[in-house]
Amino acid sequence: MPYTVPILNLLAACLLLISFAMLSRRRTQRLVNLFAWQGAILFLSTCLVAHSSGLHELYYSAALTLLLKVIALPLILHRLINRLGAQWDSETVVNIPLTMLAGLVLVIFAFGLAQPISMMATTITRNMLGIALAVILLSFLMMITRRKAVTQVIGFLAMENGLFFAATSATYGMPMVVELGIALDVLVGVFILGLFFFQIREQFESLDLRNMENLKED
């Protein structure tokens, strides 16, 4: 298919755009929706890679992505947010424009980093490696700048998305066993973190992580 690579490039660009959108959003439910979109794009790109490379295993990964990241996790997160009443994140640590600027620097750094690696890769998707790294770093940045526990978890999940994308683009995905393991980890992780949210709220009567600073020993 002649348009595979351009379409893939387009999808990758969308992924990066969504990452920036996540950095700028303050409403938690929007973040979850963006996360779901990210999953959907990941699903499409994986399907495309599977089709063009003829690796049928990748279809399973794509299906797993669809099931877990587009349907299951956003649903769980929405329900959690509603029950916790955590629709709004409070003020970010650093203001949003400054965060976006930092994000830009990170993207440039990621592209510079990916250049020598993508030279070595033989896949058709190798140019996307820079974007995948940028997604990881941007999600990390989001975790740093947010104060609410729920947003941090979304940042964590977005980071996993970036890792997944990096794996598909550099080596056509990880072995199936590893992928299944990671998927299970993410699911279990979300359940455990969900439990923690309730514990944290019970203890501090808020999900603001600033309260946890009192925990440290003097």
Partner: protein, 672 residues
Amino acid sequence: MTLPLIAEHPLRLLLYLITTWLALGLAGLPTPRGGRLVARVLFPLGAMICLAVATIAAIFLLTGHAPQTAILPFGLPDLPFHIRLDALSAFFLLILGLAGAGISIFSAGYFRAGEGTAPGLMGLQYHVFLASMALVLLADDAYLFMVAWETMALSSYFLVTSQHRIPEIRRAGFLYLLMAHVGAICILLSFGVLQGGSWQFTFDAMRHATSTLTPFLATTAFLLALLGFGMKAGLVPLHVWLPEAHPAAPSPVSAMMSGIMLKTAVYGFLRISFDLLHVRFWQWGVLVLAVGLFSAIYGAIFAAVQSDMKRLLAYSSIENIGIIFTGIGLAILFETSNLHLYAALALCAALVHALNHSLFKSLLFLTTGSVLHATGHRNLGKLGGLIRRMPWVATIALVGTLAIAGLPPLNGFVSEWLLLQSFLFTPQIPHAFVNMFVPLGAAVLALTAALAAYVMVKFYGVVFLGQPREASLSEARDPSWLERIGLLWLAIGCIAIGIVPQLAMRPAAGVTGMLLGQTVATSSLWWIAPIAPQQASYSGVILLAGILGTIGITFLLVRLLAHGRLRRVPAWDCGYPHQTARMQDTAEGFGQPIRHMFGAFFRIERDLPTPDDIAPRYRMRLEDRIWRTLYLPIARATQKIADMVSILQSGSLSIYLLCSFLTLIVLLVFVL
């Protein structure tokens, strides 16, 4: 099981026995509170296994069997466990078996109700401890050795902290665990040097590799081994955990640790310095000798001023370990001077003393356990007059105290005599100054022996003689028959070796033969003359006969001359009729002269009441100077470094994330 079968497959049998120990430990676990099963079945069975181990080891030593090796199908891939039974490990297995049998049977009675920890759990820890010590002795590669060594440290840690609800005991346990781990690191590093670039960690490979070691590397390995094993053995100044851990542990555990575990350190030290290392230098001998002598005198002095009976025995252990290392140091010194026969004599003395110490120190620790259970007191100031209430324990403790004081015809005398004999040959060492100074060590040793006797007079006199210092002591009773059997077993061991020293010297001869290629001449069963009969010889039987004869004649004379003139009247009351039991000589009072003479060793804090005090109270605290000068600065430095690191702990999640983020970026830049 027939004798040829034991002689044929000693190693396999030992493995079965060790496995049985582990099985016994696990068997008590389903019913941890079921003290009956643990006390009536598991501990006595464990004692039987100890006996079997001792028997196998003895047969192996006496038949002069060649070393046996085997490879176990456990361990990591490509790194299986190697085990080996040779004369050295057999001798220490003999110690383990003989002392372990007595302690196990005693524990059967002692741990009926558990000591803080449930009996079933206690049984598991106890038997894992025994099995790991046996594996330490059998290990033939550094990997299994370290695994067994650490298992031994951990299981004994849990045994020490069985009363973990008491903060002091937790603290003592932590100190012990810390020292054990630091020691283990030293041993590990020593093995790392010993492999000499071959990266083979079987002892067999090390025996080959060490022949190419440079003197510097060999000395490094030796010093690391001395540090690591010295920490476990309790050589001064690495001894600080010993006087804390022993009072904290239940008495049978103290007995096991002092009687057997300290000996595994002696074993490891001998294994590295005599078996694995090919070259030795006479300076090493001087170092070990000096450390050993200092530990001996230091332990004896500190034992003399203690007022807690288990702490007193702990310091006495330091003294005895010092004596053992003195023997080893002398052996190295002689061996490097090509005086092999004298080296064999010194090593033989050290080995026999290791065996003797395991018997009488276990015995004494067990008697303190009986006293503690019967009275609830550990402090010497609250005991007294127990010979009337606990005649059994008192009689057996008397055997133990006489043995540890080094009086003939008991076993303590034999080994100290052998060691003094070997000191007599030190002027023949061909190094100037060394051959002048080392003979002075004999004087230090003699002083130590005298102080040890002083300590034991204090221990026995204050606990068992005189009047009870507390009213509650009148309810003290002798322990149950299981405990009595255990005590009796150890006491018989002390007497037997004292009267027939060959019982210990023949097995030790196997070890000296293996390590030095030389054995001390053993003429007959009843008479020992280590070098030449015209020089010095000793016969326990004749001495015993002499002592018995003197007692008999005295008795008869008194009967004949003083018969019928016996009157029972109150004792002389110094013209002061209102005496109470509290006016007797106390442990503090007894130790006072020593405190004065050796004041430089202690840090003394005293509260003296003022003359017009209505409720006067005298309080005194004795401290080890080494703790303040060596350990506290290390602890403070550690705390300081830890404080510096704790700046990172801001409590804010964003900062933590930022830290990992920056680390990631820096690493990525590094890759770039």
